[in-house]
């Protein structure tokens, strides 16, 4: 091969590169470069026209200088001139320069596009490829505008050379990513899909990337690719290692193409066609089998290529999550890798197993590897592998192994890398809470966490332990005792002092009977830490002290003494000073009764999303990533996801806004301690609390947000004001929903997204997702007017017995919607048991002074909690017979409201959430479905049969399920759909 001589097409360049390499210092290099730049500049500016060769050489030198990291501000024009050279190498250097130093200089872009246009129409395949590479490398919007129409034609034209097709496919992909709006499919969709059948493996390899991307965006239009991909994959998988000639890589047939095919299939649900599915399952089995065969080569490339396919196949198996046999086999295979001598394989096995742990079919199989994973956490030398092990332990944790896993994670924390400590702390905190059977274990775990990794224990973690202790009286005494003991340690983490202060302030009385922890001992213990603490902690401690005065009158004089001391009452920190002054005054003027009311024990916190989880999510979410910020499409597609995160972060922002000073406020008082409550400064707060019932933006750090009545208890029940706010301010008169709301509800039985309601002022869009017995709904309130809506509030209520059937939590929504703007609300739904009614959504706002009030039904229907169940004909009829009690069946015969189109019916039934079973009913006109409704209390298996009678335009619908109410409700809901 004459390769080595290739560089000396340009001797001057080689000399220059040698010079640079010989430079002894950075300065010398810069000097040499400047000399060269001056030289090139003068050549370019010179009167003598440069020949192509010199131009090429100088442009190449400039490129080299640029790649060394220096700025280049000239030469672009010369590079563009090279593009129109008819000498290949000159053209090539020109294109290379343009690709590396793209400049959005519009004038140049026009010239470049012209040159590209000429090359594309030259019919010289090598020139065409160069031009296509340039478009793919630059991929700018201007290029998309110029060529998005032309390239598809090149791609599918019969006479295009294979190599050009390959470049055209990827070039188009790049343009599609930059400007999807400009790349129009349509007439050539099916021809592109059929590239999967191309004879030339290289064409298939390139085309499949394009097809995968297009399928992700337009799954329906491209769905014919599934069967083509399966048959292609099957041919590759079953081919002998030599069949594919140069596409065989270290005895593995077409590894890249195989991976891409498997990845394409992950854009779709399992194939519906039985034959295709059978063939695919066969492929997956073959891949799993091959993993067990002895390697055909000792080279790492062989095993890497083979395992790359294996991991991709496992991803597909996990994606389908419907083949228990394959899932368990995948898990066993990964189990072998966990102890492989290749670090890479151990890493990937841990990673992949994490996703397997979430499948109900393989969760148990994953759990059997717990010892190996724990061992990995302890012994792996590479932190990234240890991190994977920690992730997997977190994923495989359940009630049966939580104690072991939490203990291991805690002990790992003592030596864990600093980079992953905070995340580990959050994970331990979440697991401890999630699987706490007895809460004393939970308290111990969190206190251990603070002891071991206090610095990494974020606010969320210690807020949470307090919330839980407050909400569970069975653990309060234990918690008080434990923190008291923990505080005995000579050096305590400040977070421990915070938790200690809070808990003793609330529940110190529970251990005060023991002389070793008498009130004064408790106080002295806390106060011994006071001087070492930061201002926020001191503020919290002061609040704990005033609570002590209420709990233990005997400590009053001691504490008053402390409050009165100059270091408190004249403290330079305003917050501390104010607290000292006010608490001192409160303790001296208020009667015992008043004191007892004001300083009452914290009421339970409303159950809400653990802020720790929110934090953990945030940590792993889109962090400080700049690469991807630039990549527009990246997150936009995941609107729901993004929306959720926006919601979270705004909630966090909100909590910051409501806590201007960092002091943790024990009493739920932000601005006005009792004595000043009546003062003008607190006036607005009072108004807020009373007018905006349920809108709770004062008081406690939001994460510790107490129910409304507690946050204003001080104000409401302060001296001279004895009537307390009603316990649940949120509950409203059950408003009557709009007359059309039933119809609106029916619209959403078979779909999850759409416009729920629209009038002249307001549009409400809805997006929802359900999994198992949980659901999440995003409501988008759009202001259609140009005037803002003010005091916009929404309330979701569960009327009557629905309250005990459905757990619905909604986040508060922004009270102001600007004209033309949209706000979003997230609603979390948990189905406790089956239900028939729908929750009500009440919306109130002022539009131009007029109060608008409307109530709708939220489209949460029992079928949303369906889990489709695939079953064979035999099983179906067996179960059908089992459900033969008369009350288990509901039947309706009704007239068709819509055209009886088979495809539409199928789509609706699929939308219902059940599995549509093919080849079960002997009459092919009929539809049968099976599914299990997941509620927290139980699972309700349901079977359905729909018999259309096209002549009579009638249907007969029969539903059988293990619960009569469910059959009845499903029948009602469905009868409205067809």
């Amino acid at each position: 091969m004459p390769a080595v001589s290739k560089g000396d097409g340009m001797r001057g360049l080689a000399v220059f590169i040698s010079d640079i390499r010989n430079c002894k210092s950075k300065e010398a290099e810069i000097k040499r470069i400047n000399k060269e730049l001056a030289n090139i500049r003068s050549k370019f500016k010179g009167d003598k026209a440069l020949d192509g060769y010199s131009k090429k050489k100088y442009v190449c030198k400039l490129l080299f200088i640029f790649l060394l990291g220096h700025d280049i501000d000239f030469g672009h024009m010369e590079a563009v001139n090279l593009l129109s050279s008819n000498k290949y190498t000159e053209k090539q250097i020109g294109y290379l320069f343009i690709s590396v130093l793209v400049n959005s200089n519009s004038e140049l872009i026009r010239l470049i596009n012209n040159a590209i246009k000429n090359d594309l129409s030259s019919r010289n395949p090598t020139f065409m490829c160069l031009a296509l590479h340039c478009i793919a490398n630059v991929g700018s919007r201007e290029m998309a505008e110029a060529f998005a129409g032309e390239i598809p034609r090149i791609l599918v034209a019969g006479d295009t050379m294979d190599s050009v097709k390959q470049s055209a496919a990827l070039c188009l992909l790049r343009l599609y990513k930059t400007s999807p709006d400009l790349v129009l499919m349509g007439e050539w969709t099916s021809r592109v899909v059929h590239l999967l059948n191309d004879q030339h493996m290289g064409v298939v390899t390139a085309a499949i990337s394009l097809i995968t991307c297009l399928s992700q965006k337009n799954p329906d239009e491209f769905k014919t690719c599934v069967s083509l991909a399966v048959s292609r994959l099957s041919r590759i998988v079953s081919s002998a290692s030599t069949d594919l000639q140069d596409y065989t890589y270290y005895f593995v047939p077409a590894p890249w193409l195989s991976c891409k095919l498997l990845r394409l299939l992950q854009c779709y649900p399992p194939p519906e066609d039985g034959a295709v599915k059978g063939r695919l399952v066969e492929c997956l089995e073959t891949i799993l089998n091959k993993a067990q065969e002895p390697p055909k080569s000792k080279k790492v490339q062989h095993s890497n290529a083979k395992n790359a396919i294996l991991f991709e196949a496992i991803s597909l198996i996990i994606h389908y999550d419907s083949e228990p046999n394959l899932l368990v086999r995948a898990c066993n295979q990964l189990g072998q890798f966990l102890q492989h001598r290749e670090t890479n394989l151990r890493y990937l096995a841990l990673e992949s197993m994490c996703t397997l742990a979430s499948s109900e079919f393989s969760h148990e199989a994953v759990k059997t590897h717990i010892e190996t994973v724990i061992n990995a956490l302890k012994t792996e030398r590479d932190v990234s592998v240890r991190q994977r092990a920690a992730d997997l332990l977190y994923a495989m944790c359940d009630r049966s192994n939580s104690k072991q896993i939490v203990a291991e994670m805690l002990s790992y924390l003592e030596t864990a890398d600093y980079s992953i400590r905070e995340e580990m702390v959050l994970k331990v905190a979440v697991l401890a809470e999630k699987y706490a059977v007895d809460y004393s274990w939970y308290v111990d775990t969190i206190l251990n966490l603070i002891r071991i990794a206090g610095d990494y224990v974020s606010e969320e973690v210690w807020y949470r332990v307090i919330q839980i202790v407050i909400n569970r009286d069975d653990v309060q005494g234990y918690a008080a005792k434990t923190v008291f003991e923990a505080l005995q340690a000579p050096a305590c983490h400040e977070n421990m002092v915070k938790v200690g202060g809070y808990i003793l302030g609330e529940f110190g009385n529970l251990i005060a009977g023991d002389p070793r922890s008498s009130p004064l001992v408790q106080f002295n213990l806390l106060h011994s830490k006071f001087h070492l603490c930061s201002v926020p902690t001191r503020a919290l401690l002061l609040s704990a002290y005033i609570k002590f005065i209420n709990l233990f009158p005997e400590t009053k004089s001691t504490i008053q003494e402390v409050l009165r001391s100059d270091s408190q009452i004249r403290n330079s920190d305003v917050e501390l000073q104010q607290r000292a002054v006010e608490y001192l005054k409160l303790s001296s003027i208020a009667s015992t009764d008043v004191l007892a009311t004001v300083l009452e024990e914290m009421p339970p916190f409303p159950e809400r999303e653990s802020s720790i989880l929110a934090k953990l999510k945030k940590k792993k979410g889109p962090g400080a990533v700049s690469v991807n910020e630039l990549e527009e499409g990246k997150r936009e597609g995941g609107e729901l996801n993004g929306g959720g995160e926006r919601g979270d972060s705004s909630a966090i922002a909100g909590s910051n806004a409501s806590t201007p000073s960092p002091s943790a406020d024990l009493l739920g008082l932000r601005t006005g301690p009792p004595v000043t409550a009546a003062a003008p400064s607190a006036g607005s707060l009072l108004v807020d609390v009373f007018s905006e019932a349920g809108v709770n933006d004062d008081g406690f750090l939001r994460d510790l947000e107490p129910p409304t009545e507690s946050s204003d208890s001080l104000l409401a029940e302060g001296p001279g004001d004895s009537d307390s706010a009603p316990p649940s301010v949120v509950s409203e008169d059950p408003a009557t929903p709009l007359p059309e709301s039933n119809e609106l509800l029916n619209k959403f039985v078979c779909k999850n997204n759409g416009v729920l309601f629209e009038n002249q002022l307001l549009q409400i869009g809805i997006k929802s997702e359900y999994r198992q017995n949980l659901g999440r709904m995003y409501l988008f309130y759009g202001n259609k007017t140009s005037v803002q809506f003010i005091t916009f509030t929404t309330t979701v209520t569960c009327p009557g017995e629905l309250q005990s059937q459905l757990n619905v939590q909604s986040k508060t929504v922004e009270p102001l919607i600007e004209g033309g703007a949209q706000v979003q609300q997230v609603i979390n739904i948990e189905c406790l048991t089956d239900f028939s009614e729908a929750p009500l959504l009440n919306i109130k706002f002022r539009y131009g002074g007029a109060l608008q009030n409307l109530t709708l039904k939220l489209p949460v229907t029992i079928n949303k909690f369906f889990q489709p169940t695939e079953m064979a004909s035999h099983d179906f009829f067996q179960r059908w017979k089992q459900l033969s009690l008369p009350q288990q069946e509901a039947q309706k015969i009704f007239k068709a409201n819509h055209a009886m189109d088979t495809e539409v019916l199928k789509a609706k039934l699929l939308g219902l959430g059940m599995a549509l079973l093919e080849n079960v009913d002997p009459n092919p006109e009929n539809f049968v479905c099976a599914g299990v409704i997941q509620t927290k209390a139980q699972q309700v298996g349901s079977l359905l049969r729909l018999e259309p009678n096209a002549q009579a335009q009638m249907y007969r619908l029969t539903v059988r399920s293990s619960k009569d109410t469910v059959s009845k409700r499903l029948c009602e809901l469905l009868a409205e759909q067809f």
């Binding site: 097409g9 992950q266 790359a308 994490c354 653990s610 990549e631 499409g633």
Partner: protein, 201 residues
């Protein structure tokens, strides 16, 4: 669809969560779910860097539009991180929300940044195939070949990977394309040498 792996938390949750965590877990699950389903348009490979043990950048190929300053910053960060790795550590690194896949060949590190859900092993073999291509073309390639013939290294890469995706994985076909180009160069230059020969004779 592999779920969103940047959400490690989301990986492998069981469903039977209780009490107050329910909604939170729903949220995570749904995030993962939504993300997976709507697989965004991602560039498989975002950039490729070749650098020496001393941290000198020898080749850089960017498949995402970034400013020069960003490119410099990213290269510095990645090079530093990879050089700090010890031998026998795994070849994959999580960095921001990307995966860095790297391998060292003699004095050169080859390093690719791919999206988080991309197949790591196949990326490792992309690197290897590229090394093979260079090796075959230059005839037992060394760092100097790439320094002095950087433009060739780019051409070979473009034939192999385009827009961050594998275009042609057959070694023969890639080299054939490059050789054809070289032939065109020789043809183009041929007349001159003939003339020179005539002049000499």
């Amino acid at each position: 669809m592999r779920g969103q792996e940047s959400l490690d938390v989301a990986k492998g949750r069981r469903v039977h969560v209780t009490g107050f965590l329910t909604s939170a877990f729903t949220a995570i699950r749904h995030e993962a779910y939504a993300h997976g389903i709507q697989c965004n348009i991602n560039l498989k490979m975002q950039f490729m860097l070749l650098f020496s043990r001393q941290g000198k950048l020898r080749l850089q190929k960017w498949y995402v539009p970034l400013s020069d300053t960003q490119k410099k910053k990213i290269s510095r960060e990645v090079i530093q991180m990879v050089l700090a790795r010890k031998p026998k550590m795994c070849s994959f690194l999580e960095w921001r929300d990307l995966k860095i896949v790297y391998k060292r060949y003699a004095s050169l590190y080859f390093c690719c940044a791919v999206e988080d859900q991309e197949n790591e092993l196949i990326t490792l073999e992309i690197i290897h195939r590229y090394v093979e291509l260079l090796d075959k073309y230059f005839g037992s390639v060394c760092e100097l070949d790439i320094i002095f013939n950087f433009e060739k290294a780019y051409y070979i890469l473009d034939e192999f990977i385009l827009g961050g995706e594998a275009q042609e994985t057959s070694k023969k076909n890639v080299l054939k394309a490059i050789e054809q180009a070289d032939m065109m160069q020789e043809e183009a230059e041929a007349p001159r040498s003939v003339l020179e020969e005539i002049g000499l004779t």
